[in-house]
């Protein structure tokens, strides 16, 4: 395969050394089968070992290598260099997050929010092991399959203008994962989660821009999940208002 040259413009930031991030350019050879992540790895291996970025699986599963490539939010393992439009491949760290170094951003805030929404099966009482596993029909699995595809890549948070304006917003991925467990037939924590999510900083902050669903590399549709959570939270609120305690299930 014939080799060609391409210029990578990569945002660099060295904490304690740089006052602000700046671009550094690298000219590298590439072939048509190289993705942007391959280009970054070429730079790190052959030109500049100080360049820092996250990656792991190279196949769109781990969700580590998200970045802004020529202004578009992508997993860098999921976009070929030949597909990038423009004179250079410009790689920026994901917006809306503090930059730790070069393309590495801090996700601590998201991890706290994710813990808050209890992204695991909550049971009031576990049945004895002797009774066997919790069985589900294909329809039961289909109810949450789409949201269970989330790989926590954080591209949705980078695309969300609401999160950019107010970082206390619970955000798309945490909401989508909460919805995933609420729709799981084995789960009994829906009421608890909806109580956590239906707050000032929760799902009601979402103005349904919808860009989170557009950039999601796994088609999770967090925007749709949040709107569904709003309906469930409203039903829960109406039940609390109108149905006497003794009549609720």
């Amino acid at each position: 395969m014939a080799e060609k040259d391409v210029v990578f413009r990569v945002k660099r930031y060295r904490p304690g050394h740089d006052a602000a991030p700046h671009y550094q350019e690298y000219r590298i050879p590439y072939t048509d089968d190289m993705v942007v992540l391959d280009g970054l790895n070429y730079i790190k291996d052959q030109i500049d070992p100080t360049l820092t970025f996250r990656w792991s699986c190279r196949m769109g599963i781990c969700g580590s290598c998200g970045a802004s490539v020529n202004g578009k939010l992508r997993l860098t393992c999921g976009i070929f260099i030949k597909e990038v439009r423009g004179r250079a491949v410009t790689v920026d760290p994901m917006p809306n997050f503090p930059i730790l170094k070069d393309l590495v951003v801090e996700f601590d805030d998201f991890l706290r929010k994710l813990q808050d929404v209890k992204p695991y099966i909550v049971r009031g009482e576990e049945k004895p092991l002797a009774e066997g596993e919790y069985l589900q029909t294909p329809e039961d699995v289909e109810a949450y399959r789409q949201q269970s595809m989330c790989i926590n890549c954080m591209l949705c948070y980078s695309a969300c203008p609401v999160f950019a304006a107010s970082d206390h917003f619970v955000g798309p991925a945490a909401s989508a994962l909460a919805y995933r467990y609420i729709r799981d037939s084995r789960d009994e924590g829906a009421d608890e989660r909806l109580g956590i999510l239906s707050t000032k900083t929760g799902i009601w902050e979402c103005t349904f821009v919808g860009e989170c669903s557009v950039v999601c590399p796994k088609d999770v549709d967090p925007a749709g999940a949040i709107q569904n959570l709003k309906v469930l939270a409203s039903i829960r609120q109406m039940r609390e208002l109108l149905v006497p305690k003794w009549a609720r299930r």
Binding site: Y13, P15, G16, D18, A20, P21, G71, P95, N96, P98, I99, L100, V105, E106, P161, A164, A165, T207, F208, V209, G210, E211, S213, V214, D221, A223, G224, Q227, N228, K230, V231
Partner: protein, 131 residues
């Protein structure tokens, strides 16, 4: 060892101009405000009607002046954007499941727009006796 703080950047003021979908979202929000504002204009029109024929005629003449007609067309454009993007959002979210599986969003969008047009035609017919 010194603790180096992460770099936090501010979102640029023109963020909504960088992506056509952000621009459409902003237009939808502005359309919502203008819809409410036009509702106030209609309420004021009702008040002028209550005040008497001369007050109502003055207001009608003002509404028909070229600058106000131009402004009305601009408001109408924003309201159309608001309505269409709202139906589009509804189709994408489909919070109320009417079918076993969510409909393809384009199909759901088309259904809601056709229903909207039908309702508008009925309303026009009831109020004006025809288009």
């Amino acid at each position: 060892m010194p603790r180096f703080l992460p770099y936090t950047s501010k979102r640029p003021a023109g963020w909504w101009l960088r992506n056509p979908r952000y621009l459409l979202f902003q237009a939808r929000e502005v359309g919502g405000i203008l819809t409410a504002a036009y509702g106030l204009v209609l309420l004021y029109q009702l008040r002028q009607f209550h005040r008497g024929p001369s007050a109502f005629e003055w207001f009608q003449a003002m509404l028909q002046s070229p600058p106000v007609v131009l402004l009305t067309f601009v408001v109408f454009g924003f309201i159309m954007v608001h309505a269409l993007t709202w139906f589009q959002s509804l189709a994408r979210a489909q919070p109320v499941a009417l079918t076993k599986r969510p409909m393809p969003w384009r199909q759901a969008f088309a259904v809601t727009v056709v229903l909207w047009i039908l309702v508008s035609v009925v309303v026009l017919y009831l109020f004006f006796g025809g288009l």
